[in-house]
Protein backbone atom coordinates (compact mmCIF):
# COMPACT_ATOMS: atom_id res chain seq x y z
CA UNK A 1 0.00 0.00 0.00
CA UNK A 2 1.23 3.46 -0.83
CA UNK A 3 1.74 6.06 1.82
CA UNK A 4 -0.64 9.06 2.18
CA UNK A 5 0.58 11.40 4.96
CA UNK A 6 -2.31 12.95 6.85
CA UNK A 7 -0.75 16.43 7.12
CA UNK A 8 -0.76 16.94 3.34
CA UNK A 9 -3.40 18.04 0.82
CA UNK A 10 -3.79 16.44 -2.58
CA UNK A 11 -5.01 16.74 -6.15
CA UNK A 12 -6.71 13.75 -7.77
CA UNK A 13 -3.95 14.05 -10.43
CA UNK A 14 -1.54 12.85 -7.70
CA UNK A 15 0.21 16.03 -6.59
CA UNK A 16 0.68 16.63 -2.87
CA UNK A 17 0.86 20.03 -1.17
CA UNK A 18 2.27 21.10 2.15
CA UNK A 19 1.20 24.63 3.14
CA UNK A 20 3.29 26.56 5.66
CA UNK A 21 3.06 30.34 6.14
CA UNK A 22 1.46 30.96 2.74
CA UNK A 23 4.06 28.87 0.90
CA UNK A 24 2.97 25.65 -0.76
CA UNK A 25 5.55 22.92 -1.32
CA UNK A 26 4.45 20.64 -4.16
CA UNK A 27 5.43 17.09 -5.05
CA UNK A 28 3.94 13.92 -6.51
CA UNK A 29 2.50 11.19 -4.35
CA UNK A 30 3.90 7.81 -3.46
CA UNK A 31 0.99 6.23 -5.32
CA UNK A 32 1.87 8.19 -8.49
CA UNK A 33 5.55 7.28 -8.42
CA UNK A 34 4.55 3.65 -7.97
CA UNK A 35 2.24 3.82 -10.96
CA UNK A 36 4.84 5.54 -13.13
CA UNK A 37 7.80 3.38 -12.16
CA UNK A 38 11.44 4.50 -12.42
CA UNK A 39 11.49 8.22 -13.21
CA UNK A 40 14.09 9.33 -15.75
CA UNK A 41 13.21 12.89 -16.78
CA UNK A 42 11.42 15.86 -15.32
CA UNK A 43 10.50 19.37 -16.48
CA UNK A 44 9.40 21.81 -13.79
CA UNK A 45 8.15 25.41 -13.87
CA UNK A 46 10.89 28.02 -13.73
CA UNK A 47 11.70 29.94 -10.60
CA UNK A 48 10.00 33.34 -10.77
CA UNK A 49 7.24 32.15 -13.08
CA UNK A 50 3.58 32.41 -12.16
CA UNK A 51 1.34 29.35 -12.10
CA UNK A 52 -2.43 29.06 -11.80
CA UNK A 53 -4.24 26.26 -9.97
CA UNK A 54 -5.15 23.50 -12.44
CA UNK A 55 -2.56 24.46 -15.09
CA UNK A 56 -0.23 21.87 -16.52
CA UNK A 57 3.12 23.24 -15.41
CA UNK A 58 5.53 20.42 -16.12
CA UNK A 59 6.07 16.85 -17.12
CA UNK A 60 7.30 13.81 -15.27
CA UNK A 61 8.59 10.94 -17.36
CA UNK A 62 9.29 7.40 -16.33
CA UNK A 63 10.84 4.76 -18.54
CA UNK A 64 7.40 3.75 -19.70
CA UNK A 65 5.33 6.94 -19.83
CA UNK A 66 5.12 10.72 -19.71
CA UNK A 67 2.71 12.37 -17.33
CA UNK A 68 1.71 16.03 -17.00
CA UNK A 69 1.93 17.60 -13.59
CA UNK A 70 -0.56 20.25 -12.50
CA UNK A 71 -0.28 23.22 -10.19
CA UNK A 72 -2.46 22.63 -7.12
CA UNK A 73 -2.48 26.34 -6.17
CA UNK A 74 -1.89 29.74 -7.81
CA UNK A 75 1.05 32.04 -7.21
CA UNK A 76 4.71 32.67 -7.90
CA UNK A 77 7.23 29.83 -8.03
CA UNK A 78 9.85 30.87 -5.49
CA UNK A 79 12.02 27.77 -5.42
CA UNK A 80 12.56 24.71 -7.62
CA UNK A 81 14.23 21.45 -6.58
CA UNK A 82 17.15 21.64 -9.01
CA UNK A 83 18.49 18.28 -7.90
CA UNK A 84 15.63 16.50 -9.62
CA UNK A 85 16.96 17.51 -13.03
CA UNK A 86 19.83 15.06 -12.77
CA UNK A 87 18.22 12.70 -10.29
CA UNK A 88 14.47 12.45 -10.93
CA UNK A 89 14.56 9.06 -9.19
CA UNK A 90 14.66 10.97 -5.88
CA UNK A 91 10.89 11.09 -6.39
CA UNK A 92 10.82 7.28 -6.42
CA UNK A 93 13.02 7.04 -3.36
CA UNK A 94 11.45 9.76 -1.23
CA UNK A 95 8.32 11.29 -2.78
CA UNK A 96 7.35 13.32 0.31
CA UNK A 97 10.89 14.38 1.25
CA UNK A 98 13.88 14.81 -1.11
CA UNK A 99 11.55 14.34 -4.07
CA UNK A 100 9.68 17.64 -3.55
CA UNK A 101 9.38 19.57 -6.84
CA UNK A 102 8.78 23.29 -6.28
CA UNK A 103 7.44 25.92 -3.88
CA UNK A 104 4.74 28.46 -4.61
CA UNK A 105 4.08 31.71 -2.77
CA UNK A 106 0.31 31.46 -2.67
CA UNK A 107 -1.84 34.25 -4.08
CA UNK A 108 -4.94 33.05 -2.34
CA UNK A 109 -4.56 30.91 0.79
CA UNK A 110 -8.26 30.01 0.49
CA UNK A 111 -7.41 27.75 -2.46
CA UNK A 112 -6.25 25.12 0.01
CA UNK A 113 -9.92 24.47 0.71
CA UNK A 114 -10.35 23.16 -2.86
CA UNK A 115 -7.80 20.40 -2.34
CA UNK A 116 -8.42 16.83 -1.16
CA UNK A 117 -7.47 15.78 2.33
CA UNK A 118 -5.61 12.53 2.95
CA UNK A 119 -8.78 10.57 3.51
CA UNK A 120 -10.43 11.79 0.31
CA UNK A 121 -7.26 11.13 -1.71
CA UNK A 122 -6.93 7.64 -0.25
CA UNK A 123 -10.49 6.92 -1.33
CA UNK A 124 -9.80 8.30 -4.80
CA UNK A 125 -6.81 6.02 -5.34
CA UNK A 126 -8.59 3.03 -3.84
CA UNK A 127 -11.21 3.41 -6.57
CA UNK A 128 -8.47 3.31 -9.20
CA UNK A 129 -7.12 -0.05 -8.11
Amino acid sequence: MSEVPSELKFLSSHEWVLVEDGVATVGVTDHAQELLGDLVYIELPEEGSTVAAGDSVGVIESVKAASDTYAPVSGEVIEVNEELENAPDKINDDPYGDGWMYKVSMEDPEEVGDLLDAEAYSEAIADED
Partner: protein, 366 residues
Protein backbone atom coordinates in the same frame (compact mmCIF):
# COMPACT_ATOMS: atom_id res chain seq x y z
CA UNK B 1 -8.55 -11.90 -14.46
CA UNK B 2 -6.36 -12.57 -17.46
CA UNK B 3 -4.50 -15.67 -18.54
CA UNK B 4 -1.82 -16.71 -16.10
CA UNK B 5 1.43 -18.52 -16.74
CA UNK B 6 2.56 -21.40 -14.50
CA UNK B 7 4.89 -18.89 -12.82
CA UNK B 8 2.18 -16.43 -11.77
CA UNK B 9 2.44 -17.31 -8.07
CA UNK B 10 6.26 -17.14 -8.29
CA UNK B 11 5.93 -13.58 -9.61
CA UNK B 12 3.70 -12.56 -6.70
CA UNK B 13 6.12 -14.17 -4.26
CA UNK B 14 8.97 -12.16 -5.82
CA UNK B 15 7.04 -8.91 -5.33
CA UNK B 16 5.97 -8.40 -8.92
CA UNK B 17 3.77 -5.59 -10.06
CA UNK B 18 1.33 -7.33 -12.39
CA UNK B 19 -0.15 -5.70 -15.49
CA UNK B 20 -2.34 -6.84 -18.33
CA UNK B 21 -0.28 -7.72 -21.38
CA UNK B 22 -2.33 -8.88 -24.37
CA UNK B 23 -4.77 -10.63 -22.05
CA UNK B 24 -2.09 -12.06 -19.76
CA UNK B 25 -1.41 -11.11 -16.14
CA UNK B 26 2.32 -10.50 -16.42
CA UNK B 27 5.02 -8.90 -14.25
CA UNK B 28 5.97 -5.40 -15.46
CA UNK B 29 8.66 -5.16 -12.76
CA UNK B 30 9.59 -6.45 -9.33
CA UNK B 31 10.31 -2.99 -7.91
CA UNK B 32 12.63 -1.24 -10.35
CA UNK B 33 12.80 -1.95 -14.04
CA UNK B 34 16.07 -0.06 -14.30
CA UNK B 35 17.68 -2.29 -11.64
CA UNK B 36 16.40 -5.32 -13.56
CA UNK B 37 17.78 -3.93 -16.81
CA UNK B 38 21.16 -3.46 -15.15
CA UNK B 39 21.07 -6.98 -13.71
CA UNK B 40 20.80 -8.37 -17.25
CA UNK B 41 23.52 -6.10 -18.67
CA UNK B 42 25.91 -6.78 -15.81
CA UNK B 43 25.08 -10.18 -14.33
CA UNK B 44 22.05 -12.40 -14.93
CA UNK B 45 18.30 -11.96 -15.06
CA UNK B 46 15.34 -14.12 -15.97
CA UNK B 47 12.07 -13.48 -17.74
CA UNK B 48 8.92 -15.54 -17.76
CA UNK B 49 8.01 -15.69 -21.44
CA UNK B 50 5.49 -18.49 -21.08
CA UNK B 51 2.81 -16.25 -22.58
CA UNK B 52 4.50 -16.68 -25.93
CA UNK B 53 3.07 -19.29 -28.24
CA UNK B 54 4.95 -22.51 -28.95
CA UNK B 55 3.88 -24.48 -32.00
CA UNK B 56 5.39 -27.77 -33.17
CA UNK B 57 5.34 -28.37 -36.92
CA UNK B 58 5.94 -31.96 -37.93
CA UNK B 59 5.67 -34.41 -40.78
CA UNK B 60 7.24 -35.09 -44.16
CA UNK B 61 5.87 -31.80 -45.51
CA UNK B 62 7.01 -29.66 -42.56
CA UNK B 63 10.02 -28.21 -44.36
CA UNK B 64 8.28 -27.33 -47.64
CA UNK B 65 5.36 -25.86 -45.65
CA UNK B 66 7.67 -23.60 -43.62
CA UNK B 67 9.58 -22.63 -46.76
CA UNK B 68 6.28 -21.45 -48.22
CA UNK B 69 5.08 -19.80 -45.01
CA UNK B 70 8.19 -17.85 -43.97
CA UNK B 71 10.20 -15.05 -45.58
CA UNK B 72 13.44 -16.52 -44.26
CA UNK B 73 14.43 -19.94 -45.59
CA UNK B 74 14.41 -22.88 -43.18
CA UNK B 75 16.73 -24.64 -45.60
CA UNK B 76 19.41 -22.61 -43.81
CA UNK B 77 18.80 -24.88 -40.81
CA UNK B 78 20.94 -27.96 -41.32
CA UNK B 79 22.12 -28.72 -37.79
CA UNK B 80 19.75 -30.15 -35.26
CA UNK B 81 18.73 -27.45 -32.76
CA UNK B 82 19.61 -24.52 -35.01
CA UNK B 83 17.41 -21.40 -34.74
CA UNK B 84 16.28 -18.96 -37.41
CA UNK B 85 14.53 -15.60 -37.01
CA UNK B 86 11.88 -14.92 -39.62
CA UNK B 87 8.83 -12.89 -40.51
CA UNK B 88 5.58 -14.46 -41.61
CA UNK B 89 4.02 -12.25 -44.27
CA UNK B 90 0.65 -11.68 -45.85
CA UNK B 91 0.24 -11.53 -49.65
CA UNK B 92 0.97 -7.78 -49.58
CA UNK B 93 4.30 -8.40 -47.88
CA UNK B 94 3.03 -7.00 -44.56
CA UNK B 95 4.26 -8.71 -41.41
CA UNK B 96 1.68 -10.97 -39.75
CA UNK B 97 4.20 -11.82 -37.04
CA UNK B 98 7.87 -12.35 -36.38
CA UNK B 99 9.05 -15.61 -34.90
CA UNK B 100 11.87 -17.97 -34.15
CA UNK B 101 11.88 -21.39 -35.78
CA UNK B 102 14.06 -24.19 -34.43
CA UNK B 103 14.97 -27.19 -36.54
CA UNK B 104 14.92 -30.10 -34.10
CA UNK B 105 15.26 -33.00 -36.53
CA UNK B 106 14.06 -34.04 -39.96
CA UNK B 107 10.33 -33.54 -40.10
CA UNK B 108 10.19 -31.66 -36.82
CA UNK B 109 10.38 -27.90 -36.24
CA UNK B 110 9.42 -25.80 -33.24
CA UNK B 111 8.07 -22.30 -33.89
CA UNK B 112 7.76 -19.59 -31.22
CA UNK B 113 5.36 -16.77 -32.07
CA UNK B 114 4.06 -13.77 -30.13
CA UNK B 115 1.27 -13.90 -27.59
CA UNK B 116 -0.70 -10.85 -28.73
CA UNK B 117 -1.00 -12.38 -32.19
CA UNK B 118 -1.76 -15.94 -31.08
CA UNK B 119 -5.28 -16.34 -32.49
CA UNK B 120 -4.65 -14.79 -35.89
CA UNK B 121 -1.32 -16.62 -36.22
CA UNK B 122 -2.79 -20.02 -35.43
CA UNK B 123 -5.60 -19.37 -37.91
CA UNK B 124 -3.05 -18.34 -40.54
CA UNK B 125 -0.89 -21.41 -39.92
CA UNK B 126 -3.94 -23.61 -40.43
CA UNK B 127 -5.05 -21.77 -43.54
CA UNK B 128 -1.63 -22.01 -45.16
CA UNK B 129 -1.51 -25.72 -44.32
CA UNK B 130 -4.17 -26.53 -46.95
CA UNK B 131 -2.81 -28.95 -49.51
CA UNK B 132 -0.02 -30.41 -47.40
CA UNK B 133 -0.86 -34.07 -46.81
CA UNK B 134 1.83 -35.03 -44.29
CA UNK B 135 1.78 -32.11 -41.86
CA UNK B 136 1.03 -31.75 -38.17
CA UNK B 137 0.60 -28.37 -36.45
CA UNK B 138 0.38 -28.63 -32.70
CA UNK B 139 -0.10 -25.69 -30.35
CA UNK B 140 1.89 -26.54 -27.21
CA UNK B 141 0.00 -24.79 -24.42
CA UNK B 142 1.49 -27.41 -22.08
CA UNK B 143 4.95 -25.88 -22.55
CA UNK B 144 6.28 -22.95 -20.49
CA UNK B 145 9.24 -20.79 -21.42
CA UNK B 146 11.89 -19.00 -19.39
CA UNK B 147 14.61 -16.69 -20.74
CA UNK B 148 17.82 -16.40 -18.70
CA UNK B 149 19.98 -13.55 -19.95
CA UNK B 150 23.15 -11.71 -19.07
CA UNK B 151 26.94 -12.16 -19.08
CA UNK B 152 26.75 -14.62 -16.16
CA UNK B 153 23.45 -16.23 -17.12
CA UNK B 154 24.85 -19.35 -18.77
CA UNK B 155 27.32 -20.02 -15.97
CA UNK B 156 24.69 -19.62 -13.31
CA UNK B 157 22.06 -21.66 -15.14
CA UNK B 158 24.09 -24.60 -16.45
CA UNK B 159 24.74 -26.04 -12.98
CA UNK B 160 21.00 -26.39 -12.44
CA UNK B 161 20.65 -28.98 -15.18
CA UNK B 162 21.27 -32.72 -15.00
CA UNK B 163 24.90 -33.78 -15.25
CA UNK B 164 24.48 -35.34 -18.68
CA UNK B 165 22.86 -32.13 -19.96
CA UNK B 166 25.51 -29.75 -18.68
CA UNK B 167 28.19 -30.76 -21.15
CA UNK B 168 26.00 -30.22 -24.21
CA UNK B 169 24.76 -26.91 -22.81
CA UNK B 170 28.35 -25.71 -22.43
CA UNK B 171 29.04 -26.54 -26.03
CA UNK B 172 26.00 -24.79 -27.49
CA UNK B 173 26.98 -22.08 -29.94
CA UNK B 174 24.85 -19.00 -30.46
CA UNK B 175 21.46 -19.51 -32.07
CA UNK B 176 21.71 -23.21 -31.37
CA UNK B 177 19.52 -25.32 -29.11
CA UNK B 178 19.70 -28.75 -27.53
CA UNK B 179 16.75 -31.06 -27.11
CA UNK B 180 16.53 -33.30 -24.05
CA UNK B 181 13.88 -35.70 -22.79
CA UNK B 182 12.39 -33.12 -20.48
CA UNK B 183 13.30 -29.75 -21.98
CA UNK B 184 14.60 -27.78 -24.93
CA UNK B 185 17.31 -25.20 -24.25
CA UNK B 186 18.55 -22.71 -26.84
CA UNK B 187 21.27 -20.08 -26.73
CA UNK B 188 18.93 -17.35 -27.92
CA UNK B 189 17.25 -14.30 -26.41
CA UNK B 190 15.81 -10.84 -26.82
CA UNK B 191 18.16 -8.64 -24.82
CA UNK B 192 21.44 -8.34 -26.73
CA UNK B 193 23.12 -10.44 -24.05
CA UNK B 194 24.24 -14.03 -23.99
CA UNK B 195 21.96 -16.56 -22.34
CA UNK B 196 19.42 -19.32 -22.78
CA UNK B 197 15.77 -19.71 -23.55
CA UNK B 198 14.38 -22.78 -21.85
CA UNK B 199 11.18 -24.60 -22.74
CA UNK B 200 9.78 -27.32 -20.54
CA UNK B 201 6.49 -28.76 -19.37
CA UNK B 202 4.54 -26.09 -17.54
CA UNK B 203 4.14 -28.00 -14.27
CA UNK B 204 7.92 -28.29 -13.87
CA UNK B 205 8.74 -24.63 -14.50
CA UNK B 206 8.08 -23.25 -10.98
CA UNK B 207 10.75 -25.57 -9.57
CA UNK B 208 13.31 -24.37 -12.14
CA UNK B 209 12.38 -20.75 -11.39
CA UNK B 210 13.02 -21.36 -7.70
CA UNK B 211 16.42 -22.91 -8.37
CA UNK B 212 17.34 -20.03 -10.68
CA UNK B 213 16.43 -17.58 -7.90
CA UNK B 214 18.66 -19.50 -5.49
CA UNK B 215 21.47 -19.37 -8.07
CA UNK B 216 21.32 -15.58 -7.92
CA UNK B 217 19.45 -14.88 -11.14
CA UNK B 218 17.28 -11.77 -10.79
CA UNK B 219 13.60 -11.88 -11.78
CA UNK B 220 12.99 -9.29 -14.50
CA UNK B 221 9.72 -7.96 -15.85
CA UNK B 222 8.37 -6.88 -19.20
CA UNK B 223 9.51 -3.30 -18.55
CA UNK B 224 13.18 -4.25 -18.52
CA UNK B 225 12.63 -6.64 -21.40
CA UNK B 226 11.46 -3.72 -23.53
CA UNK B 227 14.38 -1.37 -22.78
CA UNK B 228 16.85 -4.24 -23.23
CA UNK B 229 15.51 -5.20 -26.63
CA UNK B 230 15.35 -1.53 -27.70
CA UNK B 231 19.01 -0.98 -26.79
CA UNK B 232 19.80 -4.20 -28.65
CA UNK B 233 18.03 -2.85 -31.76
CA UNK B 234 15.54 -5.70 -31.82
CA UNK B 235 12.12 -5.11 -33.31
CA UNK B 236 8.91 -5.46 -31.34
CA UNK B 237 5.95 -6.77 -33.30
CA UNK B 238 2.93 -4.45 -33.43
CA UNK B 239 5.14 -1.49 -32.62
CA UNK B 240 8.06 -1.52 -35.05
CA UNK B 241 6.30 -3.51 -37.76
CA UNK B 242 2.83 -4.86 -38.47
CA UNK B 243 0.62 -6.01 -41.32
CA UNK B 244 0.93 -2.63 -43.07
CA UNK B 245 4.74 -2.59 -43.19
CA UNK B 246 7.10 -4.97 -44.96
CA UNK B 247 10.38 -6.30 -43.59
CA UNK B 248 12.17 -4.11 -46.16
CA UNK B 249 11.03 -0.91 -44.38
CA UNK B 250 11.44 -2.42 -40.89
CA UNK B 251 15.16 -3.07 -40.79
CA UNK B 252 14.51 -6.75 -41.46
CA UNK B 253 15.70 -7.16 -45.05
CA UNK B 254 18.45 -9.41 -43.67
CA UNK B 255 15.79 -11.92 -42.64
CA UNK B 256 14.30 -12.25 -46.11
CA UNK B 257 15.67 -14.72 -48.66
CA UNK B 258 14.59 -13.55 -52.12
CA UNK B 259 16.38 -16.09 -54.29
CA UNK B 260 14.90 -18.17 -57.12
CA UNK B 261 14.84 -21.48 -55.28
CA UNK B 262 11.40 -21.09 -53.72
CA UNK B 263 8.21 -19.06 -53.55
CA UNK B 264 6.76 -17.82 -50.25
CA UNK B 265 3.75 -15.85 -49.16
CA UNK B 266 4.43 -12.16 -49.79
CA UNK B 267 7.48 -12.72 -52.00
CA UNK B 268 6.04 -11.04 -55.09
CA UNK B 269 5.04 -7.97 -53.07
CA UNK B 270 8.59 -7.65 -51.74
CA UNK B 271 10.07 -8.03 -55.23
CA UNK B 272 7.71 -5.33 -56.47
CA UNK B 273 8.63 -3.03 -53.61
CA UNK B 274 12.30 -3.60 -54.26
CA UNK B 275 11.91 -2.94 -57.99
CA UNK B 276 10.00 0.28 -57.34
CA UNK B 277 12.60 1.41 -54.82
CA UNK B 278 12.24 1.09 -51.07
CA UNK B 279 11.09 4.52 -49.88
CA UNK B 280 11.84 4.24 -46.18
CA UNK B 281 14.59 2.98 -43.97
CA UNK B 282 14.59 1.86 -40.39
CA UNK B 283 17.15 3.58 -38.18
CA UNK B 284 18.26 4.25 -34.65
CA UNK B 285 17.82 7.70 -33.11
CA UNK B 286 19.85 9.16 -30.30
CA UNK B 287 18.34 12.18 -28.59
CA UNK B 288 20.87 15.02 -28.31
CA UNK B 289 18.64 17.37 -26.30
CA UNK B 290 17.01 16.61 -22.98
CA UNK B 291 13.75 14.70 -22.91
CA UNK B 292 12.43 11.26 -23.79
CA UNK B 293 11.58 9.95 -27.25
CA UNK B 294 8.28 8.08 -27.42
CA UNK B 295 6.43 5.88 -29.88
CA UNK B 296 4.68 7.68 -32.77
CA UNK B 297 6.52 11.01 -32.43
CA UNK B 298 7.16 12.80 -35.71
CA UNK B 299 10.73 12.87 -37.04
CA UNK B 300 11.68 15.73 -39.37
CA UNK B 301 14.57 15.08 -41.75
CA UNK B 302 15.86 17.12 -44.72
CA UNK B 303 14.32 14.42 -46.96
CA UNK B 304 10.86 14.50 -45.37
CA UNK B 305 9.04 13.27 -42.32
CA UNK B 306 9.31 9.97 -40.52
CA UNK B 307 7.99 8.44 -37.32
CA UNK B 308 9.38 6.89 -34.18
CA UNK B 309 8.19 3.31 -33.84
CA UNK B 310 9.76 2.60 -30.41
CA UNK B 311 11.22 5.21 -28.12
CA UNK B 312 12.26 5.16 -24.49
CA UNK B 313 15.05 5.79 -22.05
CA UNK B 314 18.23 3.76 -22.29
CA UNK B 315 19.44 2.82 -18.81
CA UNK B 316 22.82 1.75 -20.23
CA UNK B 317 23.46 4.98 -22.16
CA UNK B 318 21.52 7.15 -19.69
CA UNK B 319 19.86 9.06 -22.49
CA UNK B 320 16.87 8.61 -24.71
CA UNK B 321 16.98 6.37 -27.78
CA UNK B 322 14.48 5.25 -30.38
CA UNK B 323 13.94 3.26 -33.51
CA UNK B 324 12.28 5.13 -36.36
CA UNK B 325 11.07 4.76 -39.92
CA UNK B 326 12.41 7.67 -41.98
CA UNK B 327 12.73 8.54 -45.70
CA UNK B 328 15.45 6.42 -47.34
CA UNK B 329 18.79 8.16 -47.37
CA UNK B 330 18.13 10.37 -44.35
CA UNK B 331 21.20 10.62 -42.16
CA UNK B 332 22.93 12.80 -39.62
CA UNK B 333 21.02 15.22 -37.46
CA UNK B 334 17.22 15.34 -37.47
CA UNK B 335 14.49 16.86 -35.33
CA UNK B 336 11.79 15.15 -33.31
CA UNK B 337 8.61 16.89 -32.23
CA UNK B 338 8.24 16.28 -28.50
CA UNK B 339 5.39 18.05 -26.71
CA UNK B 340 5.25 20.88 -29.28
CA UNK B 341 9.00 21.41 -29.17
CA UNK B 342 11.53 20.40 -31.78
CA UNK B 343 14.37 18.45 -30.20
CA UNK B 344 17.61 17.49 -31.91
CA UNK B 345 18.40 13.83 -32.50
CA UNK B 346 20.98 11.95 -34.49
CA UNK B 347 20.48 8.99 -36.80
CA UNK B 348 22.74 6.17 -35.64
CA UNK B 349 23.39 2.55 -36.57
CA UNK B 350 21.60 -0.18 -34.64
CA UNK B 351 22.14 -1.69 -32.15
CA UNK B 352 22.80 0.89 -29.45
CA UNK B 353 24.18 -1.65 -27.00
CA UNK B 354 25.58 -5.13 -27.43
CA UNK B 355 26.80 -7.38 -24.62
CA UNK B 356 26.84 -4.60 -22.09
CA UNK B 357 28.81 -2.16 -24.23
CA UNK B 358 27.72 1.02 -25.95
CA UNK B 359 27.97 0.77 -29.74
CA UNK B 360 27.87 4.56 -30.13
CA UNK B 361 31.07 5.92 -31.55
CA UNK B 362 30.84 9.36 -30.00
CA UNK B 363 32.69 8.22 -26.91
CA UNK B 364 30.10 9.73 -24.58
CA UNK B 365 28.27 8.01 -21.74
CA UNK B 366 30.17 4.76 -22.06
Amino acid sequence: MGNRTPLYQCHLDAGAKIVDFAGWDMPINYGSQIAEHEAVRGDAGMFDVSHMTVVDVSGGDAKTYLQHLLANDVDRLQLSGKALYSCMLNQQGGVIDDLIVYYLRDGFYRVVINSATREKDLAWLDRQAQGYADLGIKFRDDVAMLAVQGPNARDKAIGLFEDYQQESLRQLVRFQGAEFDDCFVARTGYTGEDGFEIMMLAERMPELWQRMLEAGIAPCGLGARDTLRLEAGMNLYGTDMDETTTPLVSGLAWTVVLDDTRDFVGKQALLDQQAAGVQQSFVGLLLLDKGILRNHLKVVTPLGEGEITSGSYSPTLQRSIAMARVPSGAEGQVEVEVRNKMLRAEIVKLPFVREGKSMLNDGGNQ
